[in-house]
């Protein structure tokens, strides 16, 4: 029997997106529209867990799309478990076929998400990769480029400055020390970048207090403020999401993990918006 494309593909995704109680971006619960999300580049990294970094990036880009924000991913990860596309395989246009160049995800009624696999060297300062790229954000109308970074110091030191860094870390001493070291390098590389911290599962611990200690030390030594977005929750739905290659934000059944994730995404987007409001353009 001839295999026909199913018109109903994504129906559950559509329901999930359109019937969600979350406001779409630029719209508050009271119906008022807010200022547009600030365009820019966001570097995402999780030094201790590249696979969690990929998971987070994949979900963040879809959450942005769900809120009508045109976003794309530049994937500079080098290890297979840190790549974004395996986590979104079932959603990719023409999935199952090998294709060159960027791959896209189209969910009905939402902006197209584009994923471009790139070598780390293409993002190093001096290569003029951004200017030379035919798919530059401005011409394509993408508001945000999420950089799925190679999670090491060297990449940050060499790469082009980004507007925001989002670092995912565990809460043990060594992971926090590693995070502090990364923040220090981020600060040297791009003093104006905003750094956001997400804890990777810190259940049962006083997360705000841990963050306050980290933020206090960063402020004292680097004279820099950092923001806290919350903690990821690990549960069965997260495991299913990875196993089924379907991002958590698209799973129809709400779970603690998906609520935590969407909360983090919301705080991040609100935080960027607030920052834009404070900065005179």
């Amino acid at each position: 029997m001839k295999d026909r494309p199913k018109l109903g593909r994504g129906l559950s995704d559509v329901s999930r997106c359109f019937l969600s109680g979350s406001p779409q971006y630029g719209q508050h619960h009271d119906g008022n529209t807010s200022p547009a999300f600030t365009a820019g580049t966001v570097g995402i990294l999780s030094p201790a867990s590249p696979s969690m970094q990929a998971f987070f990036t994949a979900n963040l880009v879809l959450e942005m799309a769900r809120r009508r924000l045109a976003a794309r991913i530049w994937d500079y990860a080098t290890s297979a478990d840190a790549k974004v596309t395996p986590l979104m395989r079932s959603l990719l246009e023409g999935h199952g076929t090998e294709q060159e160049g960027p791959v896209g995800i189209v969910l009905y009624g939402l902006p197209r998400v584009e994923i471009l696999d790139r070598a780390p060297e293409e993002f190093y300062a001096g290569t003029k990769a951004r200017e030379a790229a035919p798919d530059a954000a401005e011409s394509e109308g993408y508001a945000v480029t999420l950089v799925n970074a190679r999670p090491d110091i060297e990449f940050i030191m060499k790469s082009e400055p980004v507007d925001d860094f989002l670092i995912i870390t565990r809460t043990d001493e060594m992971s926090l020390l590693q995070t502090y070291a990364f923040i220090k390098v981020m600060d040297v590389r791009s003093r104006s970048s905003t750094v956001w911290v997400v804890f990777d599962e810190g259940e049962g611990r006083d997360l705000q207090r841990i963050f306050d200690v980290l933020a206090g030390f960063v402020t004292r030594t680097l004279e820099k403020s950092i923001g806290f977005l919350g903690a990821l929750v690990h549960d069965e739905s997260l495991e299913h999401s990875i196993r089924d290659e379907k991002p958590l934000v698209l799973l129809s059944r709400p779970s603690a993990a998906s609520e935590a994730l969407t909360g983090i995404c919301s705080r991040f987007m609100d935080g960027r918006q607030q920052k834009a409001g404070e900065t005179p353009s």
């Binding site: 867990s49 001493e173 020390l177 590693q178 070291a181 990364f182 390098v185 841990i210 306050d212």
Partner: protein, 190 residues
């Protein structure tokens, strides 16, 4: 994300030795010179390695600990009797096999108090490592931890900051010893 890993027991001794040799090289920084020298009658060394100017005679236990201990001590005797020969075969300008060796035992189980038993009962230097193999026989993953000598808990150990920097991949961040100390103190005080 959380992965639930269950430990497995490797039945293929040669495979266990290969995996542990890789860890000795990548994790402990030793240079592996040879595998499985000798035999059960005269004593055999599972892995002959060098590092930090010392010869390391490594025994990998995949069966009963008592047998592995006897094998390690027999190997030690065999080494003492044959070290000139070994030096001629494996020694180079930078590597001498004539010195006092370190015995290394990797085992998936130890009885309690093993470390103090060794310290009181043996003169030769022993390093004991507990290993766990997880995943599957086809794609095993190795976890190794060293048994800390009694009276020297993790908390009282003086941390090697260069090692910490290396493990965390933050050498290039330029954190001073004082900065790391202050950071850890702030975390503990908070």
């Amino acid at each position: 994300m959380m992965r639930v890993l269950t430990s497995i027991r490797l039945t293929d001794t040669a495979q266990a030795i290969r995996i542990c040799a890789r860890w000795l090289s990548e994790g402990l920084g030793l240079k592996v010179l040879e595998y499985r020298i000798g035999n059960v009658f005269t004593g055999s060394i599972d892995i002959l390695a060098t590092g930090a100017g010392r010869v390391h005679l490594v025994t990998v236990n995949t069966g009963r600990l008592g047998d592995a201990l006897l094998e390690a001590l027999t190997a030690y005797r065999w080494y003492l009797e044959n070290r000139e020969f070994l030096d001629r075969v494996y020694g180079t300008e930078g590597i001498s096999l004539t010195g006092e060796p370190v015995l290394v035992l990797l085992s998936n189980e130890y009885p309690p108090e093993i470390r103090s038993i060794f310290l009181q009962g043996l003169k030769v230097e022993f390093r004991l490592f507990k290993y766990l193999v997880m995943g599957s026989e086809e794609a095993p993953e190795l976890y190794v931890e060293e048994l800390i000598p009694p009276g020297r808990s993790e908390e009282t150990r003086v941390p090697d900051l260069d090692e910490i920097r290396r493990e965390l991949g933050i050498e290039q961040a330029g954190l001073s010893d004082e900065e790391i100390g202050d950071f850890l103190a702030a975390l503990r005080a908070g």
